[in-house]
Subunit: 223 residues, 2 copies
DNA sequence: AATCAGAATTAAGACATTTTTAAGACTTTC
DNA sequence: GAAAGTCTTAAAAATGTCTTAATTCTGATT
């Protein structure tokens, strides 16, 4: 689950960028001024920063400078055509890359990928089903951009179901995989866990069904 | 002394590039075909590769592919205007960056610097997370402007957590990284250390949580 | 519609893990 | 070798999670 700070004052563009990122599996956060960006940045870590240069509050250059005082996070600058001369200076100032507006969405995404791939080298191991994302490294679960607060067992059950979303898992299957132990027939422990997972999902998506009951057999993810 | 492999079939352009690089303190080496590039590359390591896409012998894509099989060396591709559509594919294929010919020399140099800085420039002597700064040379820790008086183990634990602030470290992880020793199951040494680190942080920031417990799994830094 | 077995829900107690504290063992430093 | 600081161990307290059991709900069958 990669978080990206989007620093851009024009609300439409900012929202468009955030939507684009969200749609592609990132978790965007919007900042509308240089000062806001610095504030957010000091409180939280991001995996990448998209930085428009023409922003109120502080210039993009100043923001970049402040970021570079404490962090090596990849920064991709967004520049207007007219500022084209300053791009070399921008790179020297610590930006990792830049794109000139108007830019191609695919190219933006490709460059983001390059820098995320490069930045930590480690591709976070995640598994996705519809809106649910499990981050196996952070042991965190998300639905859309909201974090699901799952316990260890709940996480493991969901993980198992998501590994083969079309397969129906019997309680036996689930018990033996998650508990690593033999299943003792009459036991509704799993029912309770499934119920709790559903309740937590329903907290964010009250109408959607994610885990489907297959009567007399077990559970599976629902398409 | 940074060595750069210049893969470009047109002799004039190749020489020009090599001269430019030499003049700016790099050690260039020329390859005039894809096959030659692969051959040179397999024999020695470079700090960066400049790769023209239209070359005889093997296409630039093929060369890139071969390089990526064994190495993560930064590759900057050089493309003609007409190939512009393929740039996204290029980035996805593993190129780190590209420039469209004719390009500006200063921009080329700036981008080379970015990638060299990024690749090896891990000379950070401090690491920061929110208000905490670790000086890795002096072994000193600060929160804001106050010095945290951490013991060696405490410092190392915090350092490890801060290297990947989003990752959850199991006790196993922590034990093996910090102690360099195998983890002996039932042992709450780490709990005690975490507790003490928290207490010291709380001495200055009583309300803020910096280290988060992930039940049944381990610890991570909290946003 | 009535029945029945499987499934869902709830709450409470059992269980497990983590936190904290304190004491003694160990290390380092002078 | 004594003193100061650090690490580990142990035990009790606090907290979070899991299981049990009782009850309600649902879908299948007659």
């Amino acid at each position: 689950m990669k978080t990206i700070l989007v620093v851009e004052d024009e609300e439409n563009i900012n929202r468009m960028l955030c939507d684009l990122l969200k749609y592609n599996g990132y978790v965007p956060e919007a900042a509308y001024s240089g000062t806001e960006a610095v504030m957010l940045f000091s409180g939280k870590t991001y995996d990448l920063i998209l930085l428009d240069l023409m922003i109120p509050g502080k210039t993009g250059f100043e923001v970049l400078e402040e970021i570079r005082m404490t962090s090596t996070v990849p920064v991709i600058a967004l520049t207007a055509v007219s500022e084209k001369e300053s791009t070399v200076a921008l790179l020297k100032a610590g930006a990792n890359d830049y794109l000139t507006k108007p830019f191609d969405n695919d190219e933006l995404l490709a460059r983001i990928e390059v820098w995320l791939r490069n930045g930590t080298g480690k591709t976070t191991r995640t598994i996705t089903f519809r809106e649910i994302v499990l981050d196996l490294e952070q042991y965190e679960a998300f639905i859309g951009t909201d974090a699901l607060q799952l316990s260890k067992r709940e996480f493991e059950i969901l993980h198992l179901l998501m590994q083969n979303p079309k397969k129906v898992y019997t309680k036996n299957n689930l018990y033996e995989s998650v508990w690593g132990d033999e299943f003792m027939g009459d036991d509704n422990t799993i029912n309770v866990h499934i119920s709790k997972i559903r309740a937590k999902i329903a907290g964010f998506r009250p109408k959607d069904e994610y885990i489907q009951t297959v009567w007399g057999i077990g559970y599976k993810m629902s398409e």
